[in-house]
């Protein structure tokens, strides 16, 4: 992921004048470094607070183990167990995510093109999304069998909604003047959608795609609680039932790390493939 550039003096005309001298000063360089490593520093700081806090306040370790205990917990299991579970979750999350995109974006286009459709389909989408998975899990599992499929479907059900709603909002927010341009070219609705509304909606879409990264991981985990023999969510439940809180937390941290990486990856995709959809300061 490209780190934000600490721009050379000439490149940024909005830089206040004191910066407009030749070469960064040592102070600036320090600040730039601080900026660059701020997330890492914050993360390390957090770990230290956690470790020390747990020890000082004698937090019961079966409730919240310290980072060192979690690392020890992680080592109690072989690497292959971690990778198997990791891959099981990641696979389902990614598939659910892909399916969500493939379904939700055309759906949003349909919703944005027809008010009638919006009035009939939209409530149904809301209904589908607001069904508690746990309540409908038996139906899903029984009808879809015991493969990855029910898990992917559950992940999809959790993930697709923000994409539909946000993309629809973005497609509809397209300025009237761009629509008039399109209409004046006698382009059909499909082209208007693809060439005008969709690019305009990209900042919306990317914000939804970001939300859905973590939702897809959450969805995969929920699916594993409902039906699975592998996966980090399953492992967490499993380890908890064995009271291996350290290992459960190790899995939790792995899970959270995937989510974060996935989230950052989508952010990077936006910077690389649709930089104009970002504010200037973020490109």
């Amino acid at each position: 992921m490209p780190s934000p550039t600490i721009s050379a003096p000439a490149s940024s005309p909005v830089m206040p004048p004191e910066a407009a001298t030749a070469g960064p000063t040592p102070g600036q360089r320090a600040r730039a470094l601080g900026f660059r490593f701020a997330p890492a520093l914050a993360f390390i700081g957090l770990l230290i607070v956690w470790e020390v806090g747990c020890r000082v306040f004698k937090v019961p370790t079966f409730l919240l183990p310290t980072p060192t205990m979690i690392i020890a917990g992680a080592r109690e299991q072989s690497l292959s167990i971690w990778t198997v579970n990791l891959w099981a979750t990641l696979r389902v999350a990614l598939m659910g995510y892909m399916v969500s995109i493939v379904v939700a974006i055309p759906m949003a286009m349909a919703l944005a093109s027809s008010k009638l459709l919006a009035r009939t389909l939209y409530p149904m989408i809301v209904v589908v999304h607001s069904m508690p998975i746990v309540a409908i899990a038996p139906i899903i599992v029984v009808t879809l069998g015991a493969s990855d499929l029910p898990r992917v479907v559950i992940t999809f059900l959790i993930t697709f909604f923000p994409i539909v709603v946000t993309t629809t909002a973005g497609l509809l927010a397209t300025p009237e003047e761009l629509i008039e341009l399109s209409r004046s070219l006698r382009a059909d609705r499909a082209r208007e959608m693809l060439n005008i509304r969709l690019p305009f909606a990209l900042p919306y879409i990317f914000s939804a795609l970001k939300i859905s990264t973590t939702l897809s991981v959450v969805g995969a985990v929920v699916a594993e609680f409902v039906a699975a023999e592998h996966g980090l969510g399953y492992f967490i439940q499993f380890a908890t039932s064995f009271f291996k809180i350290n290992q459960s937390f190790a899995a939790l941290i792995l899970l959270v790390t995937i989510s974060l990486a996935f989230f950052q990856f989508v952010g990077m995709l936006q910077r690389v493939f649709a930089p104009w959809s970002l504010p200037k300061s973020e490109r």
Partner: protein
């Protein structure tokens, strides 16, 4: 050109807009006029008198409250293929660079841009003095540069009917004159029907065959004037006495705000 059927004809057109508070604004009132084939018509009128609305009526982007607008004798019920527009605002797409914006109509209408069209786009960019900015992004252009991109875009499409809404308003005097003559040259080479909205009286006189002078809101046609200057026109036309006479006449008509 009066024996050919009219390309554009307005018959008894009213345009009434409803505002948010449900009061109405009459933008256009009882418009009747025709534009002949390959005629160059300029529209002059005070700000807010309904010039842009008139253009949007021809483009099929809005529909009259009363009366009807015909193109080639057919009532306008949707945008038509043979029309190209330069909007009052440049209306560029931020996700394309300059070249992408100029070729956008082809991509949008036909889904592809040929090499020939690209080459022509580069030519047009040269014409509007932006060839160095072909790969620039839109938000790095000045106001006038954006307007020139929009002009190049409309010219590339080479439509039968060209509607231009104050296309040169953000340009300096020199560029404006240069572009005016370029437009005339293109129009002579590939004749087309042009409706040209402007606030510059000399520009209208220099370019047009006829000038529609509109009255303030509710916009109505105050007068339609023939421009007696011979074609082709050049810098010399500016010193033709008829030029100044006509310009002064229009000036007096427009400046008599409360005249009939």
């Amino acid at each position: 050109m009066s024996d050919t059927p009219p390309v554009i004809s307005f018959s008894g057109v009213d345009q009434v807009f409803t505002r948010d508070d449900r009061t109405t604004v009459t933008a256009l009132k009882d418009l009747n006029f025709t534009v002949g084939r390959h005629e160059f018509v300029a529209v002059l009128g005070p700000s807010g008198c309904g010039k842009s609305t008139l253009l949007r009526l021809i483009a099929g982007l809005v529909f009259p409250t009363r009366g009807k607008v015909d193109i080639y004798g057919q009532q306008v019920v949707e945008p038509r293929d043979e029309i190209g527009i330069v909007f009052q605002r440049p209306t560029l797409l931020p996700w394309f660079n300059v070249l992408g914006n100029v070729t956008f109509p082809f991509r949008h209408k036909y889904g592809r841009v040929t090499e020939a069209e690209k080459a022509r786009a580069h030519e047009l960019l040269k014409l509007v003095d932006l060839e160095q900015f072909a790969t620039s992004s839109i938000d790095q252009l000045s106001g006038g540069m954006q307007q020139r991109v929009a002009i190049a875009r409309a010219l590339l499409l080479d439509p039968d009917i060209m509607l231009m809404d104050e296309p040169f308003s953000a340009l300096d005097a020199l560029t404006r004159d240069e572009m005016s003559f370029e437009l005339l040259r293109i129009w002579t080479e590939r004749p087309k029907t042009v409706l040209f909205i402007t606030h510059s009286i000399p520009e209208a006189v220099l370019l047009a065959d006829r000038i529609i002078v509109m009255s303030p809101r509710p916009g109505a046609v105050r007068e339609i004037l023939d421009v007696p200057l011979p074609r082709p026109r050049s810098f010399d036309s500016l010193s033709d006495p008829r030029f100044n006479a006509l310009a002064n006449h229009i000036r007096s008509r427009l400046f008599a705000r409360h005249a009939a």
